[in-house]
Amino acid sequence: MKRTLLYLTLFTVISMFTVSCEPEADVSFDQSLLIGKWKSGTLYYKYLSGGTGGTWDTADDVTEAEAQAFTWTLVKSDLTHVHIMEIGGSVPKVYTVTELTATSLKYHDDFGVNFSFTKVP
């Protein structure tokens, strides 16, 4: 019985901790701002208007013409990339946009990894 009480107390405390933050408030971004080429260091993303795009990293000697394709959607602040594999299959990546202007794009993923891009001509 003592042991059961101990578990109960423990879970009560934990429950208090776990019931904490509310989800972030919904924020919408203008997806037309996303269209174009974005750069972060040697990493590039290019968003096209049809929901397609490509990404490449010049550090690995990849050119824009050799960019790997992805599709993208921006719903409110949820930016989803679905990277299309030539061999078949896809790799979805979901980010939360925190800033999208004509020159700046910032987002992070669920694991707290932040990304920051600037628009390039």
């Binding site: 429950s15 776990t18 594999m85 078949g88 979901v94 694991f111």
Partner: protein, 996 residues
């Protein structure tokens, strides 16, 4: 009658006796020396200006019968002339003048018709101004006798009965002519008849020692000389006839017969002469050669017997020469020449020269048979030489048996050439000198055969040996197989033939036969036509560590100029052999039977080597066995049969066996020529069939091939290695399709069956397309793609599906999955696994991490969790029910790989009374960030735990239960729905290609 005859004879004898008596009385009583001597003295002083000494003079009759003779003893003429070696012109013991008795009887004329001299000397001398010691006749008195002599010359007959010299030494010196001659012990006799238009005489001369010097050159020295020449002379026609005359010099007798006439009207000399000489010793002939010419004979020792006969017949003038027919025969000849190291002996030959010294049509030299021998060799030649005065034409047959070792001393030391053995052969040659000079071999006719026996040749470290080889050849080739190979023919039959080079190679042929036919190879504007047939019992060769041995190779090679491009070859090859064995180092190939038939066209205007050599034909190989140092097992090829042409490569049959593995490859490669010309895509369609493939054995077999220990290098070192030519680039414009069907493939203890799929190369892309197979662990399907857009940007993609697989075996087969999903280590049981991953590689095959993409799905039910002991601990801690079993009811998880991130999408684990949702991220640096939501447990609360860090520094934190409603469809929130949607997207895409 008898009585009358007796009376007549007695009367004649009586008359003769009376005449003899009268003559004897006259000789002994009337014409005594005492009476004759003063008369002759007086006459001599009348005609001779020099001192003359006359001994006793007597009249002879019986010794000069039927004429009288005046015999003078101790006759001499003394005429001292300044410079002359002797003041005596003539000094003889006896001189007899024979007087025409008839003229003396009728006309009281003293006419000499004979003259005899015995035992004495005659010295004839003339100085350089022409002054002589024989100008002894009185000038005044000569006028009258000349008239008388003229009258004598027109007298009807002059009978010279005998002019004889006996034991006379003659010295003749003429300084103006620079001539000096000495004749010793001369015995001569001249007799004849001179009439109005003919002179008939017989000349006999004999001297044991004749010397002749002219212009300081001694032409004869104490040479024995004899002449016996009967001749007729017709002065009016200037005609001379020699009747069986002979001349002899040192015993070399020359027999002469015939006529010669000087036709002054037509200015012709008309000849009809024959001669003959018999067995002249060459040494004697050479001894007659003047000293100044001896330099030409220096070092020459010749012997033998020369016989000759011939004739000179016909007209000779400024434009015409008579026909000369000379026949020479040599017997028992011998020759030594200091410049030629081999003495010749048994020289014999018959030569006949027929010529007018001008006209080719009638002139020729016939060599009956000329032969000679050296101590170890012999040769002979016969034939005919014509066109002697224009382009000499030879038609000869030469036979030789040469001991080559004899001629070794003739080879310059600088050549480093040694030759031994025998050559026996016969060569027939028909050629002209102009052809020889211009090397117009195509116009010559040369044929023959030769045999090399125990032949050995060494030249500059190269050796050739044969115990017996027969060579036949013919120029031109009368039995040509084609009209273009009429130039030459050769057939070589070798019993044992070996060639080698020190430190390099050694090759042996046994019982080999080569037959060659060719056109003229000297024409550099065109490839020669050549047909070579070969057939031999065996061929073996060794070079360094390489060797080849072939049994019974035979075949044919035909080379001809290509139609329209004669400078380029068209080659047809037919080759067959048994038991071919070749080795290079520790690699060896053995073939039981091989047959190649090919037709090759050369086009050297093409840059590409393939286009330069267009080949079509077939290859047929039986029972080939290959051993390579890098291969643990020999490679057996039971058979290969293929046809090929410039456009198509057709493998009709090819079987390969490596220990337990066997393969068969059949199919076609098309558009080869068009591809190399850039006109078409190369297309191939092959079928690869194997009953058994031992994968591990093959991997072990090929592991390290082409590499050695020094190639275990860093990337930088490799980059610096200039020999590295870059990655494999999939060719473009090539479309190859390989259908595979492997019945059983073993990999260690694992076995895969029914491996069916295809390998494609399509325009720069290499694809293993839907390769499906079964293993005891799973049914599997693999698609792989390799694309090479550029050297430093190579695409590699894999699409791998394993259905109904044991998870434990999955981890052992693909250990990298343990890195991606470490929790799988805790499960055992069957599931299905799908993974698609792709990346780009640099030229050194290093992964470009920014390009990695991957997605995987794993699904399983009733999985056994960990081992029983661990389960016990967990069950005890979490107070599992007593009925709890060591199983996970279900597991379904997806994860993705993007660059260096591995995202594990939330998945549910159900165990006893607990349900947990797990998600998280693993990075390639082995850091991770996981969340575990306990969504169902005995206590009605939602519990979350975050696990972060690395394996060395792991942190646990209580957290909000992120997936409290994840598997409760009625109450899922938006985020959870999104995750489920993505998982579906991943799984649907992955399983799209799975064959049912």
């Amino acid at each position: 009658m008898k009585k009358a005859l007796k009376i007549i004879l007695l009367s004649i004898a009586s008359i003769l006796a009376i005449i003899l008596l009268v003559v004897s009385v006259a000789l002994w009583l009337v014409f005594t020396p005492e009476r004759l001597t003063p008369i002759v003295h007086k006459q001599a002083e009348k005609y001779i200006t020099c001192q003359s000494d006359l001994g006793e003079i007597e009249l002879t009759f019986f010794s000069t019968f039927p004429n009288f003779g005046i015999k003078i003893s101790n006759f001499s003429l003394i005429n001292p002339v300044a410079g002359a070696p002797s003041d005596t012109l003539i000094s003889v013991n006896e001189i007899t003048g024979i007087v025409d008795a008839k003229a003396f009887w009728k006309n009281n004329e003293l006419i000499l018709i004979g003259l005899e001299m015995k035992q004495g000397t005659i010295n004839v001398w003339a100085d350089s101004t022409g002054k002589t010691n024989y100008d002894i006749f009185a000038a005044d008195t000569s006028q009258v006798p000349e008239t008388e002599e003229e009258s004598d010359t027109i007298s009807p007959d002059i009978d010279i009965r005998k002019i004889a010299l006996s034991g006379i030494d003659i010295s003749y010196i003429d300084l103006s002519l620079k001539m000096k001659s000495e004749i010793k012990d001369l015995n001569s006799e001249i007799s004849g008849m001179i009439n109005t238009d003919s002179i008939t005489c017989k000349i006999k001369i004999n001297s044991p020692a004749v010397s002749l010097e002219y212009e300081g050159e001694k032409y004869l020295h104490n040479t024995s000389l004899s002449l016996d020449i009967p001749l007729d002379f017709l002065p009016s026609r200037q005609f001379i006839r020699i009747k069986e005359g002979s001349a002899s010099v040192n015993g070399l007798e020359l027999l002469m017969n015939g006529t010669a006439e000087n036709d002054t009207i037509n200015k012709n000399i008309i000849t009809d002469l024959t001669y003959r000489l018999e067995s002249w010793p060459l040494s004697s002939i050479i001894a007659l050669v003047p000293q100044s010419f001896n330099s030409y004979l220096k070092g020459i020792e010749a012997d033998g017997l020369l016989t000759s006969q011939g004739s000179i017949k016909g007209i000779m003038n400024d434009s015409i020469m008579p026909m000369i027919d000379i026949q020479l025969e040599m017997k028992n000849g011998a020759l030594k020449y200091s410049e030629f190291p081999l003495p010749l002996h048994d020289i014999s030959g018959k030569i006949r020269l027929v010529t007018d010294l001008k006209t080719d049509a009638v002139s020729y030299l016939n060599i009956g048979l000329f032969s000679a021998k050296t101590p170890g060799s012999s040769f002979s030649t016969e034939g005919k030489i014509t066109r002697l005065f224009s382009d000499i034409h030879c038609d000869l047959i030469t036979t030789a048996g040469l001991n080559l070792g004899e001629f070794e001393s003739m080879i310059p030391d600088s050549m480093d050439l040694k030759v031994k053995g025998r050559v026996n052969g016969k060569i027939k040659s028909v050629f002209s000198m102009s052809q020889m000079e211009k090397m117009q071999i195509e116009k010559m006719k040369l044929s023959g055969s030769m045999r090399l026996s125990d032949f050995f040749a060494y030249y500059d470290s190269m050796t050739v040996k044969t115990d017996k080889s027969d060579i036949e050849f013919a120029l031109p080739n009368y039995k040509a197989a084609t009209k273009n190979t009429r130039f030459a023919f050769a057939k070589i039959v070798m019993q044992n033939f070996t060639t080698s080079m020190e430190g390099s190679y050694n090759a042996t042929l046994k019982n080999a036969t080569l037959v060659l036919e060719t056109s003229d190879a000297r024409d550099t504007t065109r490839i020669p036509d050549l047909i070579c047939s070969f057939n031999m019992d065996s061929l073996s060769a060794v070079m360094d560590t390489m060797s080849i041995a072939v049994s019974k190779p035979y075949g044919k090679v035909l080379i001809s100029p290509r139609s329209g491009s004669p400078d380029q070859p068209h080659i047809t090859l037919s080759y067959n052999s048994e038991n071919l064995k070749t080795a290079a180092g520790q690699t060896s190939v053995a073939v039981k039977r091989i047959s190649i038939n090919t037709d090759i066209l050369n086009d050297n205007s093409q840059k590409d080597i393939f286009l330069q050599w267009m080949a079509k034909g077939s290859l047929d190989v039986d029972n080939c066995l290959i051993n390579m140092s890098g291969l643990a097992y020999p490679v057996k090829i039971p058979s290969i049969k293929m046809n090929f042409d410039p456009e198509t490569f057709n493998i009709k049959e090819s079987k390969l066996v490596i220990d337990k593995s066997d393969f068969q490859l059949t199919g076609n490669l098309n558009n080869i020529l068009s591809y190399f010309r850039g006109d078409s895509i190369l297309r191939g369609d092959f079928s690869f069939v194997s009953n058994t493939t031992d994968v591990l054995q093959l991997m072990a077999l090929t592991n390290g091939i082409g590499n050695d220990s020094t190639k275990v290098e860093t990337v930088d070192t490799v980059a610096a290695d200039t020999s590295y030519t870059g990655p494999y680039m999939v060719p473009k414009n090539i479309d190859l399709f390989l259908t595979t069907n492997i019945r059983t493939a073993t990999m260690g203890i694992d076995t895969a069956t029914n491996i069916i799929g295809s390998v494609q190369i399509h325009d720069g892309i290499l694809v293993l397309d839907n390769l499906s197979f079964k293993t005891p662990a799973a049914k599997m399907q693999l698609t792989a793609m390799y694309r090479t857009p550029r050297k430093n940007h190579l695409y590699l993609g894999l699409d791998y599906h394993m259905l109904d697989i044991e998870i434990e075996k999955l981890l052992s087969m693909i250990p990298d999955i343990d890195t991606l999903m470490p929790m799988l280590r805790s499960f055992r049981g069957k599931g299905e696994f799908h993974i698609a991953v792709e990346t780009y590689l640099d030229s050194m095959y290093n992964v470009k991490k920014s390009t990695i993409r991957g997605a995987s799905s794993i699904k399983g039910t009733n999985l056994v969790l960990m081992d029983g002991e661990t389960f016990g601990e967990i069950a005890k801690t979490l107070k599992f029910s007593k009925h709890a079993v060591n199983k996970v009811d279900s597991l379904s998880a997806e994860f993705t790989i993007f660059r260096n991130e591995i995202d594990i999408y939330p998945f549910l684990i159900v165990m006893d009374r607990y349900k947990a949702v797990i998600s998280g991220r693993h990075n390639f640096d082995m850091s991770y960030d996981y969340h575990i939501s306990v969504v169902d447990c005995p206590i009605p609360i939602k519990l979350g735990v975050d696990v972060k860090g690395t394996e060395e520094a792991m942190k646990y934190n209580l957290a909000k239960c992120k997936y409290a409603e994840f598997y409760r469809p009625t109450s899922k929130n938006v985020v959870e729905n999104k995750q489920i949607e993505l998982r579906k997207l991943i799984r649907d895409a992955l399983t799209l290609n799975v064959k049912q």
